[in-house]
């Protein structure tokens, strides 16, 4: 059998009925397109989150207060008041801890910030000078919170570049240099002493939209608390992360007078833990969305089967004639199968182009990195061809098994 002839014939049959072929193809186009778009968007946001978490600083452990127990009633996790500045100091000074390099205690809360006629609502973070090293943050102008600021409970603030932009306008567009200016938080006046380096990111995890103040000022004057919202710990190197996690854990258990690690009123997470959790969440979303897209692909496949069945019925006489002229079963089967596969394959091709286009446009508009996943594109081609075979099989078999005399008689 001349397969080139077979391909040409299938092609011209499909070309004869452009509208029908197009509509049959559309299901696959949409299915493949949405799978590709969603998978690459999912991967893009996953990569974004990983990148952002990595910029927080490597070798980082984060201690968060656990659920607080009072009289057997368990409060919300993370809302506890069990971590104190003294805990943080103990971690760095304790002789039993050998793997920790720096400790950065933090307290943060959202507040309204006012500067002249501008105001914004953002995260106010009470920090110590160690923050710069532990969290991998520097200043682009001015200075960061110093030990004197901390000891003297000074009312000074360091702005994230986004907050600076919100409050003082773009430096190039006639905005004033925020350093040296005053801002007001909760009715208290703070002097801006520095601007941090941009760390990128957008939306819910914007690391540039922050205001840093001395930890002591934040605890005593702004929020009136004596506990911390977290302690960040820089470990000497990545190989001893687990050891550091254990050392810090036992020290805090001891300080909090707890014997059973299961009762711990705090939790210690490493970067790997956080990335793992975030990846798991976005991974679940990606899987879910791909599942929905796969369903639409399935529906597209059923559409193709439907069209192919109609085609077989319509061309019963032609099939009968071809068999009378010597077409064997496998040739009739191959011809119809080829038509189905051509539709799905071309549909898959258009779908991939469309999906990549949509993913590119969306990632541009959402500020996500654009991730083109070659395996998922190859998989999409494979799947679209497989759908052609899967859903074209039954109609093709039906055509191949037609008895020639019945088919020739068919009106």
């Amino acid at each position: 059998m001349d397969y080139q002839e077979l391909v040409l014939e299938s092609f011209s049959t499909l070309a004869l009925n452009k509208v029908r072929t197009g509509l049959a193809m559309l299901g696959v186009v949409i299915g493949i397109g949405s799978v590709i778009a969603l998978v690459s968007l999912g991967q893009a946001s996953q990569r974004l989150i990983e990148d952002q978490i990595k910029t927080l600083g490597s070798n980082l452990l984060t201690v968060s207060p656990g659920a607080q127990r009072s009289g057997g009633i368990r409060g919300a996790a993370g809302g506890g008041q069990t971590l104190t500045y003294d805990d943080a100091k103990a971690i760095i000074t304790s002789p039993q801890i050998t793997t920790v390099k720096k400790v950065s205690p933090e307290y943060s809360g959202r507040e309204q910030i006012v500067a002249g006629r501008n105001n914004t609502n953002t995260q106010v973070v009470g920090v110590t000078p160690e923050y710069t090293e532990v969290r991998n943050t520097g200043v682009s102008s001015g200075f960061f919170i110093s030990q004197q600021n901390l000891d003297g409970m000074s009312k000074v603030a360091v702005l994230g570049p986004q907050t600076a932009l919100d409050l003082f306008g773009p430096p190039a567009g006639g905005g004033v240099d925020p350093v040296g200016k005053d801002i007001r938080i909760k009715g208290l006046t703070f002097r801006v002493v520095g601007i941090t380096v941009s760390k990128g990111g957008s939306g819910f995890m914007n690391l540039d939209d922050r205001v840093f103040v001395p930890l002591t000022t934040a605890q005593k004057q702004l929020f009136g608390v004596d506990y911390l919202s977290s302690i960040s710990i820089e470990v000497v190197n990545q190989d001893v992360m687990v050891e550091a996690q254990n050392q810090v854990g036992y020290l805090l258990l001891e300080r909090h007078k707890l014997k059973d690690p299961a009762q711990a009123d705090f939790s210690i997470m490493s970067q790997a833990d956080i990335i793992g959790t975030a990846t798991e969440v976005t991974g679940t979303f990606t899987t879910l969305l791909s599942g929905i897209a796969a369903i639409s692909l399935m529906v597209g496949g059923i559409g193709i089967m439907n069209i192919m069945l109609v085609t077989v019925t319509e061309r019963t006489r032609e099939i009968g004639l071809r068999k009378a002229l010597g077409a064997k079963k496998k040739i009739v089967n191959a011809q119809f199968l080829l038509e189905a596969v051509m539709v799905t394959f071309v549909g898959g091709l258009i779908g991939v182009v469309l999906g990549v286009g949509v993913a590119y446009a969306l990632s541009r508009s959402m500020g996500l990195p654009f991730a083109l996943s070659v395996p998922s594109i190859l998989l999409a081609f494979g799947v679209s061809a497989a759908i052609g075979v899967l859903f074209g099989w039954y109609p093709a078999q039906k055509a191949a098994n037609l008895a020639p005399i019945e088919a020739l008689r068919y009106e």
């Binding site: 004639l321 010597g326 077409a327």
Partner: protein, 235 residues
């Protein structure tokens, strides 16, 4: 060439069993020009299907070039049809929206004739039926007689053992019908074995031998003594 012995075909429609062909035996030798005649319901279509290897008999034997066709499976039958039988149908059965040339090439595609040879042969046979100037016309651009001539060219393309024409003139105007019969006669004179199935006396009288069927049985099998000389008919 063709030998059928005790050929029987029964169809079951629900409870009723219809004996469409009942113990038919005859022989057709190479180079004969035979008409199979009978009124409708006489079993001539059934016989044509069996002779054309489109169907297999319920019982009896059918030898085509020494091979018992009754024993073959679907794909082997397809091969027989492709190589040994040239069909000419009442309704022409050309592929729609396809050129005459392509239509003639269809059996050769299934018969694995190489591309160049296919085109050459298709052209030759179309010229033989006087359609050398219609090679690229599609079926809808051709008259009934012309379409049937394309069908004859197609039937000849694999150089078959027999040419099986089922009411070849049934759908065609009289003057063109004579033309078709002249072509079949001409092919017979060149040595082709031609079997025509018809219910029209005038058509049967153009052949050399007439087999009469009635109620599925062979009624009469005789040489045609009053043969109409096709070459003398002028229009």
């Amino acid at each position: 060439m063709i030998r059928v012995s005790h050929l029987t075909k029964t169809y079951k429609t629900g409870e009723i069993e219809v004996r469409a062909l009942d113990d038919v035996s005859f022989e057709v030798k190479k180079g004969e020009f035979v008409a199979i005649m009978g009124p409708s319901g006489s079993g001539k279509s059934t016989l044509m299907h069996l002779l054309g290897a489109l169907d297999i008999p319920t019982s009896g034997k059918y030898f085509l070039d020494g091979k018992n066709v009754a024993d073959l499976d679907d794909d082997q039958l397809a091969e027989i049809r492709n190589e040994k039988i040239g069909f000419v149908f009442q309704a022409y059965n050309l592929l729609p929206r396809t050129t005459a040339l392509k239509n003639v090439m269809v059996p050769m595609i299934y018969g694995d004739v190489p591309r160049e040879e296919r085109t050459k042969k298709a052209r030759k046979y179309l010229e033989m039926v006087d359609l050398g100037d219609r090679l690229y016309h599609t079926s809808s651009q051709l008259s009934g007689g012309e379409q049937q001539r394309v069908a004859i060219a197609r039937a000849l393309s694999m150089n078959p053992s027999i040419l099986l024409a089922d009411e070849p003139t049934g759908n065609i105007a009289t003057n063109q019908a004579v033309e078709i019969m002249k072509i079949l006669d001409g092919l017979n004179q060149k040595g082709h074995t031609v079997v025509v199935i018809t219910h029209e006396n005038e058509i049967a009288e153009c052949t050399k031998r007439i087999i009469y069927l009635r109620d599925g049985k062979l009624e009469k099998d005789e040489m045609n003594k009053h043969r109409r000389e096709l070459s003398k008919i002028t229009l």
